[in-house]
């Protein structure tokens, strides 16, 4: 399975270090869990959640807002941001810039899905990619559609009203 390969690759690259995996909620939580269990090494886990543009939580804010910040101090730590998908890169760009202000040893990102052809911000530390995917909507494996379908064990492609197995 691709996630296991990613875990092994990260474990090789971060040998003798103890990185902190930072899951960007919510959709990455299943991927983060599997990735963590695929990394035979010491590592820490933390989570961050941003209010998406136009979301109910945004409450009229015109600038991005952190709904849940890190619990850990990342100064001097190797941070690996765990994303469900990177497309325009706007969200990851914000996270990386924010984390870099906290003087970590390094910041990298791993994403389950990638749409590099949709990127607006290119200069991102996306070191590990699960799958480059077409410009389609997916649910399952943590991905939702209106907070539904996250529980599906595998990724499904949404073609119309209901998700199909990929």
């Amino acid at each position: 399975m691709r996630v296991r390969e990613l875990g092994a690759e990260i474990a090789r690259d971060y040998a003798h270090r103890e990185p902190i995996l930072v899951g960007s909620l919510k959709a990455s939580f299943v991927f983060l869990t599997d990735l963590s269990r695929s990394m035979p090494m010491l590592h820490a886990l933390d989570f961050v959640e941003l209010a998406g543009y136009g979301s109910a939580q945004m409450g009229g804010h015109e600038q991005i807002r952190v709904l849940k910040d890190l619990d850990a101090d990342i100064a001097g730590r190797d941070v690996i941001v765990v994303e469900d998908v990177v497309d325009t890169g706007l969200t990851l760009n914000y996270l990386v810039r924010t984390f870099e202000l906290r003087a970590p040893a390094s910041v990298a990102a791993v994403t389950l899905l990638d749409r590099p052809y949709r990127r607006l911000v290119d200069d991102l530390p996306v070191r590990y990619v699960g799958f480059v995917v077409p410009d389609e909507l997916f649910v399952g494996y943590g991905f939702d559609l209106d907070e539904r379908w996250r529980q599906l064990p595998d990724l499904r492609l949404v073609r119309d009203a209901s998700p199909h197995e990929t």
């Binding site: 136009g54 325009t88 290119d122």
Partner: protein, 129 residues
């Protein structure tokens, strides 16, 4: 009650990351939303800062020109927003191809309605329409 006029909508809008000197005058609601998205994610931007000549006649008169909607200085990237149907996107793609041929050092990308909707978390609206 009709849709609010684009002029009314942008009259009250204050942008944090707009780098221009004159207030932007957007041509559509989608462009305004795109500007708000860029602002929200802290990306500095300009609105239609440059017009590219794509074609001239034998006397040097401009036959075709193109002003991309946005320029992102930190990315050195022009962005053309499109919310149109596929046939019109094809026309825009042709313009982009011409621009790339004539200005190979200029980076430009199309920003689709779907990108905007993903960021705006409006999947349901898109799927229902």
């Amino acid at each position: 009650m009709g849709q609010p006029d684009i002029g009314d909508l942008q009259a009250n809008q204050k942008f944090q990351k707009y780098l221009g000197t004159e207030p932007p005058r957007f041509a559509s609601r989608a462009e305004l939303e795109c500007a708000k998205v860029l602002d929200y994610y802290g990306i500095p931007w300009l609105y239609e800062p440059r017009t590219f000549v794509l074609e001239e006649d034998e006397d040097g008169r401009v036959r075709e020109a193109f002003a991309p909607d946005f320029y992102l200085p930190e990315q050195d990237l022009y962005v053309e927003l499109t919310v149109m149907k596929q046939s019109l996107v094809t026309r825009k793609n042709r313009k982009l191809r011409k621009l790339r041929e004539r200005y190979p050092d200029v980076k430009i990308k199309l920003f689709y309605k779907r990108d905007l909707e993903r960021l705006a978390q409006h999947f349901r609206l898109d799927l229902a329409s």
